[in-house]
Amino acid sequence: MSNVTSNDSKMVVEAKNLGVGYGQDLLWSGANICVGQGEFVAILGPNGAGKTTLFRALLGNIQILEGDLKVFGGAPSNARSQIGYVPQRRFIDSEIQIDVREFAMLALLGGNFGPVSRAKKARARQLVEESLRLVGAEEFIGKRIHELSGGQLQRVFMAQAMARSPSMLLLDEPLANLDMRAGANLAQAISDLVKSHNVTALLVAHDLNPLLPYLDRVIYIANHKVATGTPDEVFTSENLSRLYGMSVEVFRDDRGRIAIFSELEGGNHH
């Protein structure tokens, strides 16, 4: 399940002056993004700013309107097999009474036409069990998918994505709706995964602070613009003020946690 990168200097994601949107309307533009192998990157910004749209662009599912985007050095649509995508989902319908293991195996067997050999199935089962262990979800193997809590489900989604040994994970709001402890644990688990398997993880989040200890880079999307860099580079009053086009203040407490206040509102905790 490990990923061997032949060339570490090669960028996983390389966007130059990128602009995306729907139809002819730009959602955001002028994005210059570089993400290397094994980096843990958070994508932050207000609702509707276009965070998930960035994922769609990386998966090659929408047209690029401006600039250039390379994923693993080529066109995004050619990189799909190297990407593990975990969309934003709250639950799997309870009518679908499927086992956790069978659910995760779909990612490996779902592309096969016709009957699958016993050996291939056994291999898929083994890979899935390994990746369930990897994300700390091995205890759910005997359960059905609708019996799991939000945090447990996110781990199973991640295991499903990891079973295909992707070089990059795209995680859309995995921490949403989790309580603080479950969120912190999941952030830790993702970070462990990134380090142990040298996998690149891009994660859409609302709350920066649970991720802050682990992040290599932040992509902040707001007001049709994109800012990237390390958390320290992006989260400065000057930077966010420029992005939003109004006065924004960034505060840090003594443990490095960040809070953001704008001139318009009382406070907006990040």
Binding site: I98, E102, L106
Partner: protein, 266 residues
């Protein structure tokens, strides 16, 4: 009786398999609507002096292509489907009123007429049934993936629109052959009830399919047997036994999952 037994057996197997996916795709109402679309087609065919199966198949196919092209999400758009369903039922009634022949034709389309099945119907059923099963075997894995997890299946390169379209065509075929046994109005009894029970019994999809087929066969065979030795209609027995089996399965899974809670309460 032999024709009825053969047709019933094939229909139970095919409906059990296709029904499994109808349940997990949450397309039960779309399948129900397809049968009503089929009713308009069958009644139209009878009015024109053709075999009802010709109208059934052509109309359900048309409906399937339309609904399938709209994708999995469209198949759960209850309001729009309901509006089309009502119109199709009305259209069928118009055709029947135009047709000055026997009202027994209408009755058999609506409620099934398995005991009056001809040998050529059996041949049609066998061919269609085998074709549907062959297609399901070929597309089983992609269909299962897209049914459970459409977004991820799509992101990993599956053509979910094509799968959705192909599946609705399978449903159209299944509805067309099942109508002979159980009729337009009672299609749920074979297409939904056995699969709904099968899905609940296990978390393993292949085993769920086996259960679904087994339950479908059980209720069809018992229904035919009881109807043969009694004055009551087959459709009643099939629907009633199906209902009881489903209740039993729900009770069983409730007991299995909540047993620990009950034990703790004491």
């Amino acid at each position: 009786m032999r024709n009825a037994f053969e047709t019933g057996t094939i229909v139970a197997i095919v409906a059990g398999v296709v029904g499994y996916f109808v349940i997990i795709r949450k397309s039960a109402f779309a399948a129900h609507a397809l049968s009503h679309v089929g009713f308009a087609g069958a009644a139209g065919a009878v009015y024109l002096g053709l075999s009802p199966i010709v109208g059934l198949l052509s109309f359900t196919m048309g409906g399937a292509v339309f609904m399938g092209a709209l994708g999995k999400k469209a198949a759960s758009r209850d309001t729009q489907i309901g509006i089309v369903l009502a119109f199709m039922l009305g259209l069928g009634i118009l055709f029947i009123s135009l047709y000055q022949g026997y009202s027994s034709e209408a009755y058999s389309i609506l409620f099934g007429q398995i005991l009056g099945i001809s040998s050529s119907d059996v041949i049609f059923t066998v061919i269609s049934g085998v074709a549907v099963l062959a297609v399901v075997i070929i597309i089983y894995h992609p269909l299962l993936f897209a049914s459970v997890d459409e977004e991820v299946a799509s992101a990993s390169g599956a053509n979910v629109t094509l799968i959705s379209l192909g599946f609705m065509i399978l449903v159209a075929f299944t509805v067309s052959i099942a109508v002979q046994v159980i009729g337009v109005l009672l299609i749920f009894a074979l297409l939904v009830t056995p699969a709904a029970a099968g899905v609940r019994l296990t978390g393993r999809p292949l085993l769920g399919l086996v259960y679904s087929i087994a339950i479908g066969l059980l209720i069809t065979w018992i229904g035919l047997f009881l109807a043969f030795y009694s004055p009551y209609p087959v459709s009643f027995f099939i629907t009633a036994i199906g209902f009881l089996v489903y209740l039993g399965v729900r009770g069983f899974s409730w007991f299995r999952h909540d047993r620990s809670r009950i034990v703790r309460a004491f």
